[in-house]
């Protein structure tokens, strides 16, 4: 690993980015206005892309920014603008059974944290580490080598999704 490419100020950036991501997630699920939720989700996605960069995954970070933040969120914003009614802002925004959802979520979080606390000894001491230099080349080799079949099926999936979305959004088939 090239020593010049190790990240600097790792704890600061980690806490900053994960704080941003979690804050964005909180804003997504609590805002009344759907456009504000979409903006908060964009903040979360960009923060997670930053976390990928810290995890030595620059290609995945690039894909995240291009596809997720630049593509999917534009799609969401379009649809929000198409279906946003004035009256939805004044309506109730949470379910009638929202305490159940909240308790279930907290129980799930407790479960996760319990599992991580119990299994802490299973994680190796030192992360094995990845080289950042030729990350894209290696991903390319694996994608077109080991995972060629999955790659082709993913493209087929995208084709089906395109067809489905076009037909469902058409006014007259």
């Amino acid at each position: 690993m090239n020593p010049a490419m190790t990240p600097v100020a790792t704890p600061f950036f980690f806490y900053l980015l994960s704080g941003l991501a979690i804050l964005g997630g909180l804003l997504v699920i609590t805002r009344r206005n759907a456009v504000h939720s979409a903006l908060a989700l964009i903040v979360t996605l960009l923060a997670v892309a930053g976390l990928y960069l810290m995890l030595y995954a620059p290609f995945v970070a690039g894909v995240q920014i291009i596809v997720y933040a630049g593509g999917i969120m534009v799609l969401f914003l379009f649809v929000i603008m198409l279906v946003n009614l004035e009256r939805t802002i004044r309506e109730r925004q949470f379910n009638r059974i929202w305490p159940v959802g909240l308790v279930a979520g907290c129980a799930l979080l407790a479960l996760f944290l319990g599992v991580y606390a119990k299994g802490k000894s299973l994680f190796p001491e030192q992360a094995r580490g990845l080289a950042e230099g030729n990350n894209t080349q290696q991903i390319g080799e694996m994608l077109y080598g080991n995972y060629m079949f999955a790659f082709e099926i993913a493209s087929l999936l995208l084709l089906v999704a395109i067809l489905g979305a076009v037909i469902m959004a058409k006014k007259r088939i």
Partner: protein, 439 residues
């Protein structure tokens, strides 16, 4: 701290690689100032050039030949009343131009002005540039939405649909250029049989690949490189919402589209973001196809004599501009009222001449003496100059397109984006790959 400042000057890597935050910050500030000056100059050039294309004179009053017009515009915009529409979403209204500006300026982190003159040479440089410039769409969509008014909304939806469509063709053209970096064969049609797939996505690496293959990717596998470049050139005009793809923001169509409700400083932020995005996508085109910072004919006309002749170009360019300014000064009307303008233009000519002489001195000094510092300064000057000249050509082309061509109707625009550009770019990519393997 002075040690930290000076210790970097001897190295030949970017501040990002040298892990030198101070110099990275200095580079960022220089780039920020440079882009702002370039935007101001672009504004003036656009008005003057459009005017001359239309057989009129353009701004002539504010400074000599309108040179201070952009400053007057900026002052006016700053002093204008800040109007926010009544039912507009205040937070989103405020943040939309900032997102466009952020996306336009963050791209400059990886723009290579020289082999070590970039803020940071990321391994995924071109991917980063494409991704961040696609975030500008979000700013436009939010601007149109937050204005709470019909014309901005339609303008924003049209503009974002157009930008998203042409991003696909742009990405394909970029992929076919990146493909050429892995070929390792010299000359116009060369591809070494040892192509072991070690191309690179880093911007500096792409220019160095062109250096190694001794040909600009524009001419590689002629005409494939040329077609890819033309597709990118068209797509980049559509990406930045410039004529002939400026339906979403044209005054005669949608009363200025997505930035209708923005006035004063906020509108100037949009304008700043648009010009900065223009320079950014031009720098992608220059890096990928036009050889980045390399001077013309580095291998045909090689040798230290030709190097010296080409290194005189920066100084001669500025001296030429100074000569034009002197001619303008001499042709000023000899009337009392024009005294200030004449003096101003003369001073401007002197400044340009001074810069030209300084650059000539650096070039001659690098040839004459053997001091390493002057040699490095001359190197940097040459690299930055050739890069900026190529970008200046693109800027002039942008203005030329705007003056000459009528705008596309929106359905024609989308048809061209999906039915013409995408198949052609896919075809170029496939044929480039096949030729690269066979040849």
């Amino acid at each position: 701290m002075l040690n930290a400042l000076m210790s970097y000057l001897g190295s030949n890597v970017t501040p990002g690689e040298a892990n030198n935050q101070l110099w990275a910050l200095i580079y960022v500030l220089i780039i920020f100032a440079g882009v702002s000056v370039a935007v101001v100059a672009m504004n003036w050039l656009e008005r003057k050039a459009l005017a001359h294309f239309q057989v009129r004179l353009g701004p002539m009053r504010v400074g000599p030949h309108g040179l201070l017009q952009p400053i007057a515009d900026a002052v006016k915009l700053l002093l204008k009343e800040d109007i926010i529409p009544a039912e507009a979403d205040k937070f989103v209204f405020w943040i939309a131009p900032l997102i466009g500006l952020l996306a336009a300026f963050t791209v400059y982190t990886v723009v290579p002005f020289g082999p070590s003159q970039a803020v940071s040479d990321m391994n995924i440089g071109i991917l980063f540039m494409l991704g961040v410039s696609s975030l500008a769409v979000l700013g436009i969509v939010m601007a149109g939405w937050a204005s709470n008014s019909h014309y901005p909304l339609i303008g924003a939806l049209r503009s974002s649909a157009q930008m998203v469509s042409y991003e696909v063709a742009m990405g394909m053209a970029v992929v076919s250029a990146v493909l050429m970096t892995s070929l390792h064969g010299t000359g116009l049609y060369g591809a070494s049989s040892l192509s072991d797939g070690t191309g690179t996505l880093s911007m500096i690496g792409i220019v160095q690949a062109q250096q190694e293959q001794q040909v600009w990717f524009l001419f590689k596998f002629f005409p494939l490189g040329l077609i890819a470049f033309v597709i990118f050139a068209i797509a980049m005009v559509a990406e930045t919402n410039r004529a002939p793809f400026d339906l979403p923001e044209a005054e005669s169509e949608l009363t200025a589209g997505f930035h209708t409700e923005y006035s004063g400083l906020r509108w100037s932020l949009f304008m700043l973001a648009e010009y900065a995005a223009m320079i950014a996508v031009s720098s992608i085109a220059v890096t990928l196809w036009l050889g980045g910072w390399m001077r013309p004919f580095p291998h045909w006309l090689s040798g230290s004599v030709w190097d010296f002749i080409f290194s005189l170009f920066p100084g001669l360019t500025f001296l030429g501009l100074a000569a034009i300014a002197v001619r303008g000064t001499l042709r000023m009307p000899k009337h009392n009222y024009f005294r200030v303008q004449t003096i101003g233009l003369g001073a401007f000519a002197l400044v340009l001449g001074g810069i030209g002489l300084l650059l000539l001195a650096i070039a001659i000094g690098a040839r004459a003496s053997s001091s390493e510092a002057i040699a490095r300064a001359a190197d940097s000057m040459n690299n930055i100059y050739w890069f900026m000249i190529k970008i200046a050509v693109f800027m002039y082309l942008f203005i030329w397109y705007r003056a000459t061509w009528p705008r596309y109707r929106f359905d024609q625009l989308m048809k061209v984006g999906w039915k013409v550009m995408l198949p052609i770019s896919l075809g170029v990519l496939i044929v480039t790959a096949i030729v690269g393997v066979i040849a």
